[in-house]
């Protein structure tokens, strides 16, 4: 196959004006190793548009102050910005109220918060926590920690051969009556699989269990309405959705958050402090000890506005178009194995693959020398690697600013890999 132009095989109707979008991301227009950068590592972190960079800059140049305590103009502005961001995020994911939005450092801290606070208060010896083989370590290790502390047991949903959750054993697992909470990812970071969250939520609720969803790859790549999803907790990060690092969100049902004990103690989260005890601030501040990442929240607000203007459904459609194109092009290469669901509709913008006889790190190094940035490794998902029977994979992951031409360059780079490593 001779390298076709993007228009040769991609769908006729572009869903996004990518050229226009790319103008918002200054980082993308640079040379890396003498080639234009093709940034295909979005599942690790996304790039940031000028709108987000400007929001950070404007906050620090004009409004910077601590929140909720200063009786002065700057503090009022900082508080307004911080709380306004909370309202915007609540609206973005369909939360019933902004008090259900707890700012965290990211998805990992949000999951740790629920595992430690809800798990600490509610799990008893012999209780079960349901996870899946697909989980990122950030949705495994916090549960291992609380399970060890409380004498609870971890159960796992397994993957089928295409990297989908195998739900067949679910009725039997739930019939045991011991599962108190399930923690499942919305979208697999290693395979791109989109999970049937609504169905899981319904079946868990029938069994009187809760569902926490790891939305690190979900909120960035998929429209999210927590009400429609029917989940109990939803955790996600700013940096994977055009926002800055160090800011993330735990959404939880108000009633659940209300009943949970604080996660960390400190300023901002208290109502009154006595010598031997304290009382807690109202939601959501009960879970926000210390000076928060004010600038991060404000910049995440800008990211939400940016994604809202582009349209989350359009972004997903664009990613699925790129995934379809990548699967088609990569599928023609000999000695290359693709992982994950074969149909693009079942996945978000992630393509994991292995080149026979070449370690993914070597694939990544060769691609990097041509300016193509991918991830190679276990993707913090060692259980997935075990299931696939490989120590690591190479992963290309797409976002709203990626193009079919960049996938052509990925394919060309894999030709270089073959010319270096191919036998004879």
């Amino acid at each position: 196959m001779t390298a076709p132009g993007p228009s040769a095989q991609t769908p006729a109707l572009p869903v996004l004006d990518v050229e226009r979008i790319r103008e918002d991301f200054p980082i993308l227009s640079q040379q890396v190793n003498d080639h234009p950068l093709a940034y295909l590592d979005n599942a690790a972190t996304s790039q940031k548009p000028v709108q987000v960079l400007d929001a950070l800059n404007a906050y620090y140049r004009r409004d910077n102050a601590n929140v909720h305590r200063g009786l002065h103009e700057l503090s009022r502005r900082a508080t307004d910005g911080y709380e306004g961001a909370r309202t915007a995020v609540a609206d973005w994911i369909g939360a019933a109220s902004p008090v259900e939005i707890v700012w965290t450092r990211g998805t990992t801290e949000a999951i740790n918060l629920v595992a430690a606070s809800w798990g600490g208060a509610n799990l008893r010896e012999g209780d079960e926590i349901l996870l899946s083989e697909m989980e990122h370590h950030s949705n495994l290790v916090p549960w291992q920690l609380v399970a060890q502390r409380k004498g609870a047991r971890l159960r796992y949903l397994e993957l089928d051969d295409e990297g989908r959750l195998d739900l067949e054993p679910l009725p039997e697992i739930l019939a045991g009556g011991r599962v108190r909470i399930a923690a499942i990812t919305h979208v697999s970071n290693a395979l791109g699989t989109i999970n049937p969250v609504r169905e899981l939520a319904d079946r868990l609720h029938e069994a009187e269990a809760l569902l926490l969803v790891d939305g690190a790859q979900g909120a960035a790549h998929h429209p999210v309405d927590v009400g429609e999803l029917g989940v109990d907790f939803y955790a996600f990060s700013g940096h994977k959705m055009c926002g800055p690092t160090g800011i993330g969100v735990l959404w939880g049902r108000e009633r659940l958050l209300e009943e949970m004990p604080p996660y960390q103690g400190g300023g901002e989260m208290i109502h009154t402090v006595e010598r031997d005890f304290s009382t807690w601030a109202a939601l959501p501040h009960k879970f926000e000890a210390g000076t928060p990442n004010i600038a991060g929240a404000i910049a995440m607000h800008a990211a939400v506005e940016y994604l809202r203007a582009v349209g989350p459904a359009e972004i997903l459609a664009h990613e699925q178009m790129l995934v379809g194109y990548a699967l088609e092009r990569l599928g023609t290469l000999p000695n290359l194995r693709l992982f994950g669901p074969t149909s693009p509709e079942e996945r978000a913008g992630v393509v994991s693959f292995a080149v026979d006889g070449v370690h993914p790190h070597d694939v990544a190094t060769v691609l990097d020398s041509e300016g193509v940035a991918i991830r190679a490794g276990h993707h913090c998902a060692q259980l997935v690697m075990e299931r696939l029977g490989v120590p690591a994979t190479a992963r290309a992951s797409f976002y709203l600013y990626n193009t079919a031409e960049e996938i052509d360059r990925l394919v060309r780079g894999l030709g270089t890999v073959d010319s270096i490593f191919g036998e004879g």
């Binding site: 190793n33 003498d34 370690h359 790190h361 190094t365 490794g377 120590p391 270096i420 490593f421």
Partner: protein, 151 residues
């Protein structure tokens, strides 16, 4: 500064690919006196190195493992270089190889390092240096353990 293509060619020289495809001493040494399991948690590369050390001489050594071409070729080259050497000599060679990885050009001219000199190109790829050093990290740990046991 070299252009990226020639940097790439110097990274993946034939001798390196040969050690990667046909590693030497890549089988578990059953009568070893010490075994070390080294893993790079960031990328998943791993090496299990077995040594048979008698009177401070590395009489035999073998390894098993999984990882990128650089980590596996480096371990293979290391085993051929160190067989029959005194432990102090092995540590000295380790030091010189490490210096080469960190850009020391004099170390790169050291013929004593034999095939390992082909890995000089790795020093231009900072994130891959730890791959090249994985086997040597295992060696140093093995020597340390042996000496602790004897102390």
């Amino acid at each position: 500064m070299q252009d990226p293509t020639s940097q790439l060619n110097s990274l993946y020289q034939q001798v390196i690919l040969d050690h990667y495809r046909h590693p030497r001493n890549k089988e578990r040494l059953e009568n070893g006196t010490v075994e070390v399991h080294m893993r790079n948690p960031a990328c998943g590369d791993e090496i299990k190195l077995q040594l048979r050390i008698e009177d401070e001489i590395i009489v035999d050594l073998g390894f098993t493992g999984e990882g990128c071409s650089i980590s596996q070729a480096s371990a293979s080259m290391m085993t051929t270089l160190l067989k029959g050497r005194h432990v102090d000599e092995a540590l000295s060679l380790t030091g010189r190889f490490t210096s080469m990885m960190h850009g020391d050009e004099a170390a790169a001219r050291d013929k004593e390092l034999k095939d390992l000199r082909a890995l000089e190109g790795v020093s231009k790829f900072p994130i891959r240096i730890k791959c090249a050093l994985l086997g040597f990290d295992a060696l140093q740990e093995a020597v340390k353990r042996t000496r602790e046991d004897e102390a």
